[in-house]
């Protein structure tokens, strides 16, 4: 039993935390959010150079990490600083799928991802699929050596910046079958592919993607035909760890900002943290933060085990619950100032809450936990 980070991960954490606290202050970050691209190419390149992306891939894949605790270490720091750059999309989801399924030539893209020169987006969710991973209405039909894609993909995070989209489409089976889903690498400039981009509530950008008779070669398929679901599940399990860790980091910031506010802000001549009602509610936040920290450790520590899915469901449910509490209570204890856009907590609270809308919310993960526990 050992709860210390390895030396390498500790170094990565220290480096990241120092870099982000130097370079990624509220004003810089808010400018990035308001920019047309919704991210900073410079920050992206520098973080890639610091090894942030490499840490998310195993040595076999060309990186130097890739285990649960690598993912949680990186994303906790990204979360702490409220980073809006799409590491989850390009690296964990995009790069992760190619590294798992790609043939040798496709795998060359992973090198570009790790180097920071290529963005990828996963175009999987659809207008009515909600959190149901196997719900794919987009179709892929063979036509000679080509494949023709038709369908709509919704809230495709990072689509505009991506050089390639990974599009899930159904080659066989019913609309919610796990079998029959294939994954395809589709260049964003493919004819018939259109996107309508927009900013996201918690920073970054996404797009609604329409595929209208998009023709791609069969060689653009990632892995076997109709067998994409397992790999999707695998990378989304990693994404679960990443999202939970990101939320944890952000929650840490929220609680620290709250402590500073409680000890510095005075009312009726006393620091407001000396009022017992607020002091006890602050204690409750700290108690729940210990729970959240342990939950992330559980998810990260079980990612490579048979219990990963159940642990992930458990962790994301808990993080979602505690996250909402932390976001709401931090805002409430701050009062009006937390309602203003330029105050750090406003963005941090949005990041925390919006984590609950990717790959399942509290209720989705609770039901998944119940199902997996019964199995």
């Amino acid at each position: 039993m050992n709860f210390d980070l390895t030396e390498e991960r500790q170094m990565l954490q220290d480096t990241l935390r120092r870099y982000l606290s130097d370079k990624y202050d509220t004003e810089t970050r808010n400018k990035i959010i308001d920019s047309e691209e919704g991210m900073s190419a410079e920050i992206w390149a520098e973080l890639a150079e610091l090894g942030v992306i490499g840490a998310l891939f195993t040595e076999d894949q060309g990186g130097f990490g890739g285990f649960g605790f690598d993912v949680s270490t990186v994303f906790e720091e990204l979360g702490r600083a409220g980073v809006v750059e799409p590491f989850l999309d390009t690296a964990v989801l995009g790069g992760g799928l190619i590294a798992r399924l790609g043939d040798d030539s496709q795998k060359e893209l992973v090198e570009e991802v790790i180097g920071g020169s290529l963005h990828i987006a996963l175009a999987h969710g659809e207008p009515v699929s909600r959190y149901d991973l196997s719900h794919v209405e987009t179709t892929a039909k063979s036509s000679g050596d080509d494949i023709v894609l038709n369908g709509r993909k919704s809230v495709v995070v990072n689509a505009e910046a991506a050089g390639q989209l990974i599009v899930s489409a159904r080659e066989s089976g019913d609309v919610a079958d796990k079998d029959g889903i294939s994954l395809f690498l589709v260049p964003v400039d493919a004819a018939g592919l259109t996107m309508r981009g927009y900013p996201l509530f918690a920073g970054g950008r996404a797009a609604e993607v329409t595929l209208d008779e998009v023709k791609i070669p069969a060689s653009a398929r990632l892995g076997e035909a109709g067998k994409g679901f397992a790999a999707l599940t695998d990378v989304i399990a990693v994404a679960d760890v990443a999202l939970a860790a990101e939320a944890l980091g952000a929650m840490d910031t929220a609680v620290e900002l709250t402590r500073d506010y409680l000890t510095q802000r005075k009312q009726f001549g006393r620091p407001i943290g000396s009022f017992q009602a607020l002091a006890h509610r602050y204690s409750d936040l700290l108690i729940e933060m210990e729970q959240a920290r342990s939950a992330v450790i559980n998810a990260a520590g079980h990612l490579e085990t048979a219990d990963a899915a159940r642990q992930n469901a458990s962790t994301r449910n808990l993080i979602g619950r505690v996250g909402r509490l932390v976001a709401e209570e931090s805002i409430q204890m701050h009062g009006g100032i937390a309602m203003t856009k330029e105050y750090e907590l406003a963005h941090i609270a949005k990041r925390i809450v919006m984590c609950d809308h990717r790959f399942g919310d509290i209720d989705y993960h609770l039901e998944r936990f119940i199902e997996l526990s019964a199995a």
Partner: protein, 396 residues
């Protein structure tokens, strides 16, 4: 006990409904239903329609041009307008300044300002809060120094709602710095066009410009703009806080919000079924609906007391707290209900394209969730309300 309206009350309700059917413009109610932000013209339009009908000022005595309704009538009107998705009436002049003028203002002030409030000629905003004085109003610092027949005002106000539209502001200012904190405060009426006033927007976390900072730099205010006596302003402000608790529970808004969540949950699907049939979601929905059913009755109990002439006591603080909890819970359910479509930011940067991202009901939910955190913060935070309740009930 009788939970039903009397025949007179039902007749009044029918009259309100008929009026709304006929006079509430569909463009306005559509915007409200979709939670779109209303512009200044939208608010002024509805203001004028109500004024024409004589229903703009339910609280005002008839002699000032008000409707002088009793508590039940006011409640019916609020309930029906909320259900019909009528715009809210901007309260600063009508419900916040006017009662103070009617009680403490001079005849000249009443004659001059009250008709201009009704006609919409004046748009008032409120200058109470300051950066260092939120719930702790008594510690405010904006100074007004008498200089001949003027006051010279210096200082800063904040959280000034819709101050960007206002041509007038009513302010609490410190006129005597040497007395105990709550004394030495005066109530001043100030023209926003006076030199030395600057309004700066505060952008809220949902990206909306709703509140402002207002800076005063040697602003000259004629002494006849003082309401009541010098150094008694705190008394007038408190009068307002205790007497003007219209629609504090927000029952109508919660009912409309709950209906909206149900519509969303019937349209959304989870695991191949309508979301509303999902046991976890259905349970969340039922819990808040049950809470709301009880609170609606609490609200009616207070209204019934008020109609019988009893002043509402600490019950309004209780309703305020519970009302905000319920409204915020409904906002949370709406956000939850739309799933991944809560993520887009419905900004005007979606260039020239007014179609919503995803289903149209999804667009406002995240902004509403975050924006409405203010309900438990502004207007006397829930912590302040809990303190009042405990003090009154344990003080015995």
């Amino acid at each position: 006990m009788d939970l039903n309206y009397t025949e007179e009350e039902i007749a009044f309700r029918d009259e309100v409904r008929a009026f709304l059917d006929e006079k509430l413009p569909k463009e306005l109610s559509d915007k409200v239903a979709a939670r779109d932000h209303l512009g200044k013209e939208d608010m002024e339009r509805w203001h004028a329609i109500l004024n024409e009908k004589g229903w703009l000022a339910p609280n005002w005595p008839k002699k000032f041009g008000g409707a002088e309704w009793n508590a039940v009538q006011k409640h019916i009107f609020e309930e029906e307008t909320a259900r019909a998705n009528a715009p809210r009436i901007v309260p600063f002049g009508l419900s916040m300044l006017a009662p103070v003028l009617q009680a403490f203002g001079s005849k000249e002030q009443q004659d001059y300002y009250l008709p201009r409030i009704l006609s919409g000629e004046d748009w008032w905003c409120q200058g109470y809060s300051e950066p260092g004085a939120g719930s702790d109003l008594a510690s405010l610092k904006t100074r007004a120094v008498r200089d001949g027949d003027h006051y010279i005002v210096n200082g800063q106000k904040t959280w000034t709602t819709l101050g960007q539209y206002a041509n007038k502001i009513f302010c609490l200012v410190r006129t005597d710095p040497d007395v105990k904190q709550q004394e030495g405060i005066s109530f001043l009426l100030i023209d926003m066009d006076t030199p030395g006033i600057e309004v700066r927007p505060i952008i809220l976390l949902d990206g909306v410009h709703e509140v402002n900072e207002v800076f005063f730099d040697d602003v000259k205010v004629p002494v006849e703009n003082l309401v009541g006596e010098e150094n008694k302003g705190w008394t007038y402000a408190k009068y307002l806080l205790t007497h003007e608790r219209t629609n504090i529970a927000g029952v109508g808004y919660s009912q409309a919000g709950l209906e909206s969540v149900k519509r969303i949950a019937r349209a959304e699907r989870a695991n191949g079924k309508p979301l509303i049939e999902n046991p976890q979601f259905a349970a969340r929905l039922a819990n808040v609906e049950i809470d709301l059913m009880a609170m609606a009755t609490s609200n009616m109990r207070i209204i019934s007391k008020a109609a019988a002439g009893q002043a509402p006591g600490v019950e309004s603080s209780m309703l305020k707290v519970k009302g905000t909890i319920i409204r915020q819970e409904i906002n949370d359910l709406a956000r939850r209900a739309v799933g991944p479509y809560a993520m887009p930011f419905p900004s005007e940067t979606v260039e020239g394209d007014n179609d919503p991202i995803g289903p149209d009901y999804a667009a406002p939910v995240s902004a509403a969730y975050f924006n409405n955190r203010k309900l438990s913060i502004f207007g006397g935070s829930n912590e302040i309300q809990r303190g009042i309740i405990a003090k009154v009930k344990m003080g015995g």
